[in-house]
């Protein structure tokens, strides 16, 4: 038979589609035709596959080879189709038996010497395969870490094509060990006990971790804004299996699994530089739409240092994901939705020279410059930020203080206790975090104590807060109440929430 067929996956965003890779070896002049809207990397597959097969001791057919990737209308990209094309070709040549290779998804790029190289997006591809009823897959050995997360499937890692062919022909292969989810070691290096003083900012970080509230830190250079932000993932609860799968899938598509362990349960921490473009922030690309920083920070923390220095519109491009928890990117090749549920932490100096804090004696900026600087953070964006705290420069009293502050492990325990409190309350609701309580529910079911409501209403009457601000404060108050295990936010909880939102005068 001169026809061969195998399965692979084409990714469009996070969604995968099963692709039939068919190869026909026809009479005619030797040649190679690739059909089915391939991109450049895929068109180059011919030379990689040919060298890989010949160098693995296989015979390249001296005939006309026609490769068809079906469905033909879908754009396909990337070198991950090398392996399925090679397998279909060998099936068409009749040199490997067909019974073992059917109903297997193949993913992998071929090196010229026959090794199987890692590709992007293996985990989302396997998830798609599983949803389509395919239960086994061959992946590059280097991608086994993420592939093993799909424990429902039989995933066979292969180092090179010779080993793979030996398995297909004889059924013999080396046993692979199971991999388990692990907690990253690296979070030990960043501990909250390193942060001296800064009780206000510490508390705000804890509240932020409990309720998923966004946070703005304002302070002079060297006060510890970055230190605090970097330590936030360490006090977030570990990711559940489903969350970990989601995060790893996103990082897999972006090609970032070299820095992040695929099995990690630690919340991601993404800190793009303030020169980042809008596309870098929300995702994009003309051929393949890749996730941006806000999707990589999904289930974790997106930290933007020197936020007022960001380009025009970069921060405001985050408004949609902040509101909906996902980002839809439309390009001519199609439109893709990536999840983007993150805690946003903005850090800013109080003025261009950075010294306008405390008594502001060292500040060299004009009053106009000072006013202009923070107004670069737009009103609609600031409205979505529930916690705004000043990080004061440390005095010698705090620095001389020998005792270490509370450690990340202790804070994390408090955060987890508070979250489980909230989870029990929201057991019949569609949301899990305080920051996600809809306004309607706030007005009806989730009201603070009467005294607290009176306080909020009087602030509303004095036009100190808007109606939306009132709801934001109520959400924060719930997180503070959860931390103190109050069944309902008390007057004190609500006043603290009010101070956290309105304390900084911007």
């Amino acid at each position: 038979m001169s026809l061969g067929q195998s399965l692979s996956i084409a990714l469009v965003g996070l969604t995968g589609h099963v692709v039939n890779v068919e190869v026909d070896i026809a009479d005619g002049l030797p040649g190679y035709t690739l059909l089915g809207l391939p991109d450049t990397a895929l068109t180059e597959s011919r030379d990689r596959i040919r060298s890989a097969l010949v160098n693995s001791g296989e015979v390249w057919p001296n005939k006309k080879v026609i490769v068809s990737l079906s469905p033909a209308w879908m754009h396909k990209s990337g070198s991950g189709f090398d392996l399925p094309i090679a397998i279909s070709l060998l099936l068409a040549s009749g040199v490997i038996p067909s019974e073992r290779s059917s109903e297997i998804v193949y993913i992998g790029e071929l090196a010229l010497d026959g090794r199987i190289r890692s590709v992007r997006g293996v985990l989302p591809s396997l998830i798609a395969a599983y949803k389509n009823g395919i239960r086994s897959a061959v992946v590059p050995l280097a991608n086994f870490g993420e592939a093993a997360l799909m424990s429902e499937m039989v995933v066979v890692p292969m180092p090179d094509i010779a080993t793979l062919l030996h398995w297909l022909r004889t059924g013999e292969r080396a046993q692979v060990r199971k991999l388990e989810l692990e907690v990253d070691e690296e979070d030990d290096s960043l501990d909250f006990s390193d942060v001296a003083g800064q009780d206000g900012a510490r508390f705000a970080a804890e509240v932020s971790a409990v309720g998923g509230h966004h946070l703005l830190l304002i302070g002079p250079p060297g006060a510890g804004k970055t230190m605090i932000a970097q330590r936030l993932p360490g006090i977030l609860p570990p990711l559940s299996r489903e969350e970990s799968l989601e995060v790893t899938a996103l990082h897999s598509i972006a090609g970032g699994l070299s820095i992040r362990s695929p099995l990690s349960t630690c919340a991601p921490f993404i800190s793009p530089h303030h020169t980042a473009t809008r596309v870098a922030m929300v995702g994009g690309g003309s051929h393949q739409i890749r996730p941006g920083a806000c999707s990589l920070a999904h289930r974790g923390v997106l930290f933007i240092d020197e936020a007022p220095e960001c380009g025009v519109g970069v921060l405001d491009s985050l408004r949609q994901p902040l509101e909906s928890g996902s980002i839809t990117i439309a390009r001519s090749v199609g439109s893709v939705a990536y999840p983007a549920q993150f805690i946003l932490i903005l850090a800013a100096n109080p003025c261009p020279c950075g010294m306008f804090s405390g008594r502001g004696r060292n500040c060299t900026c004009s009053s106009h410059q000072v006013r202009r600087y923070l107004s670069k953070l737009s009103g609609p964006l600031m409205d979505r930020i529930d916690l705004r705290v000043e990080v004061e420069p440390l005095g010698r009293v705090q620095l001389m203080h020998n005792e270490l502050g509370t450690s990340s492990a202790q804070i994390r325990q408090r955060v987890m206790n508070a979250r489980s409190f909230a989870t029990r309350r929201f057991i019949n609701e569609s949301w899990t975090l305080n920051a996600q309580i809809p306004s309607r529910a706030l007005r009806t079911v989730y009201q603070p104590e009467a005294k607290a409501m009176n306080f909020l209403h009087s602030e509303l009457d004095k036009e100190h807060i808007s109606a939306r601000g009132l709801h934001k404060i109520m959400r924060t108050a719930w997180s503070i109440a959860d931390l103190s295990q109050h069944p309902k936010p008390t007057l004190e909880d609500t006043q603290r929430a009010f101070a956290l939102r309105e304390g900084v005068g911007i």
Binding site: D27, G28, L29, P30, N62
Partner: protein, 126 residues
């Protein structure tokens, strides 16, 4: 390029040998050879053959003495095929007789050191 002429002569002899082999091969299969090395300004058709069923075949022969540069048939590039197509039209213009149908065939001849050869014949390519 000191020995260009020497290599050229050798290659011409090799090509001639391959064409002879294919001509014999076709005749053994009751294919009539109408013309050998039909040449005009634009190029040359190696063999024009007439199949028993009345089809005219324009045959391009590629001969190689080793696999160092790949299979003989791989040496027939798309450019050569396009030229052969144009030449076949020219041949038909020069021969006003009506033929049943036309096709282009390609033949590869691989000769090894002790003189034996392997033929690969692909009928009606393009």
């Amino acid at each position: 390029m000191a020995d260009t002429r020497k290599t050229d002569t050798r290659n011409i002899a090799l090509g001639k040998f391959g064409e002879d082999v294919i001509a014999n091969f076709l005749q053994q299969r009751d294919v009539q050879i109408l013309e050998r090395n039909w040449r005009i300004k634009e190029g040359e058709i190696d063999i024009v053959a007439l199949y028993p069923n009345g089809t005219i075949a324009f045959v391009e022969v590629k001969t190689r003495s080793s696999l160092a540069f790949g299979q003989p048939l791989e040496g027939i590039s798309p450019i050569k095929m396009a030229r052969l197509q144009r030449l076949s039209l020219a041949w038909r213009a020069c021969h006003s007789r009506r033929w049943r149908s036309f096709q282009i065939d390609c033949a590869g001849v691989l000769i090894d050191k002790n003189g034996s050869h392997i033929i690969e014949y692909r009928a009606n390519v393009s």
